[in-house]
Amino acid sequence: MTATTLTASDAAAAPDERTLPLKTRLQRAERRKKLLHLALIAPLAVFLLLTFLWPIGALLKRSVDNPEVVGGLPATAAALAHWNGQGLPPASALAVFVKEMEGARGSTELASAAKRLNTEMTGYRSLIMKTARSLPLPDGSNLQEGLAAIDPRWGETRTWQVMARAGQPYTSYYLLAALDHAVDADGAIVAATEDQAIYLDVLGRTFWMSLVVTLCCLVLGFPLAYLLTSLPTRSSNLLMILVLLPFWTSILVRVASWIVLLQSGGLVNQALQALGLIDEPLQLVFNRLGVYIAMTHILLPFMILPLYSVMKGISPIYLRAAQSLGCPPFQSFWKVYFPQTLPGVFAGSLLVFILSMGYYITPALLGGPQEQMASYFIAFYTNETINWGMAAALSTVLLGATLLLYVVYSRYAGQGRNAAKAR
């Protein structure tokens, strides 16, 4: 650090700081300060790298990982990698396969390889198990004929193509499946069969429900934020506490309260019946409506706060000017005031939308099977069916969508802040 910054004349002198030109000394001091600041950031950066970024990266990598066949039948996978995919694999590859199957019989690795192959072609698991049981082949028999005798499917090109594809170290299988597509036997990408095509529906539902919740929050949040800005500070601070208290209350408390309020004998149904609006209690919870109500309640403060801070920065002078120039009140609100609130509308909406896309607890506790969003399926594949590839692929899609919106959000939030500063 020292020698390179010295000028030629200083090189001979002792590295006493005071003899250096002022410019160099300032540069050094600046650099030391910069290093100190980086050193302050470093612990957190390292901490997040190890406990957050790396785990998420590892999870995303699992969506293209293909370890089962490579782990269960490594030599076969390697041998099939050299096969051109035409006709049947060469006898050498078949020999490797037969030898490896004999050795791997009954192992858990073979079982998981068989399970993985079954996802690509139905019936492959039983084929592998049956073949493992029937080996070894009688001495001196032709491998190709011997295998075909155990099961005729070994005589079909497709069977081997599937194994060759599943034997590659990386696969697009899970990511394509998460978008309701698959690779067919010829290697072309096709739409998944109807009974397997559930994920676009789930993702579409996640988007749709987030959109509805965002709109509900906007419709409820805008008038309230507007009122809060127009009131004197003392009363608006008091009302703000009513907004912030739910914000600070545990989500589980609020979910429990909504069950109590919305159940068939709950206060809402009682009130509706007392008013004579309904005769029978309505089903308000454990369905889509209940999820919408609770999610709107939970996310509403996230809409109100950005709206409030933007509205607070809008001078009432513009509105008065418009009205004094003869613009009718509603038109002046719509044409003069509302456009100025747009940064807050966008920031709040994006924030609510981003947060609702990741919701898990509320739909899990207040919804039926038709209300479960992408997060539920990620948890389901991790905990229940231990299909980590699928969990990782769905995570990749959900995270991709979230981060995309987050980038847009940072832009808007930044613009809003700059606009506020410029005023």
Partner: protein, 275 residues
């Protein structure tokens, strides 16, 4: 405000707006108010009208090993996670506010990204990563995870406070002979303390309310308070849940009031200075 010369339509709209806003505020606050009385129900139904008043559900949760254990777990994990998040987050905030380097915006975005990444993804990723390291089902793993989730709140609050901080005070301290460490503890820290405490409160609330990552990482014996509530709501929602909820509502009210007090105090300090 309503002007004296407002037309009848404007008047109607003015009052309609107030009524609508009042209803929205009711929507916000009603769920929190409605569950508190039910925790004193002598009956075992979570329904109005209540049969009578009693403290039996509070006795039940205080006497129950499950709930006591859950509270204990929360009291182990949340303070530790908060401390970790506050220390790391505050240091990083100081570095971020004072320095300027290419990629700073990106780094800041990454440091606060745990706030926007769906929690289920965080939970699954940490579970799959921590399990081979023996950290799944350990308090260490849980504390690390909760600290990650709390860090963004510390960074946003502390950087906001630091941006309003007058660095001439640090220069003054240095010119009077204080070394950087002394300056930090005697000048910087007392002035930004309200921001740090607010950030800490946010981080604590995040951890104290965290259930998704805990679902993946905690062993059955490590269920925290929200994790236990999740199980309770799922299996059998009873007034015992309402009693726990009431305790949590009292706690969050206290946190909110502390925060409000801190905000007013720093506002007063700031306006006092400018005078």
């Amino acid at each position: 405000m309503l002007q004296a010369y407002a037309s009848p339509l404007e008047r109607t709209w003015f009052y309609a707006h107030r009524v609508i806003a009042g209803l929205i505020l009711l929507f916000l606050i009603l769920p929190i108010l409605v569950i508190v009385p039910l925790s004193f129900n002598s009956d075992s139904f979570l329904m109005y009208p209540m049969a009578g008043a009693s403290l039996r559900w509070y006795e039940e949760i205080i006497g129950s090993d499950v709930w006591r254990n859950a509270l204990l777990n929360s009291l182990i994990v949340s303070p530790a996670a908060t401390l970790l998040a506050v220390v790391l987050g505050t240091l990083a905030s100081i570095g971020l506010v004072r320095s300027d380097f290419p990629g700073k915006a990106l780094l800041t975005a990454i440091l606060i990204s745990p706030m926007v990444v769906p929690v289920v993804i965080v939970g699954v990723a940490m579970y799959l990563f921590f399990a081979p390291l023996g950290l799944a089902g350990s308090y260490t793993g849980l504390i690390l995870a909760h600290a990650v989730l709390g860090v963004p709140f510390v960074i946003t609050t502390v950087t906001a406070t630091l941006q309003g901080f007058d660095y001439n005070l640090v220069r003054a301290a240095a010119s009077l002979g204080a070394n950087p460490v002394l300056t930090f503890f005697r000048v910087t820290l007392p002035l930004v303390a309200p921001g740090i405490v607010s950030g800490g409160l946010f981080a604590f609330a995040t951890s104290f309310d965290e259930v998704v990552v805990t679902l993946f990482l905690a062993s059955p014996g490590q269920a925290t308070l929200p994790r236990q509530m999740f199980a309770g709501i799922r299996e059998n929602i009873s007034p015992a849940i309402a009693a726990v909820a009431t305790i949590l509502i009292v706690l969050s009210t206290l946190m909110l009031l502390t925060l409000e007090w801190l905000r007013r105090r720093s506002e007063k300090l700031r306006t006092g200075k400018s005078r």
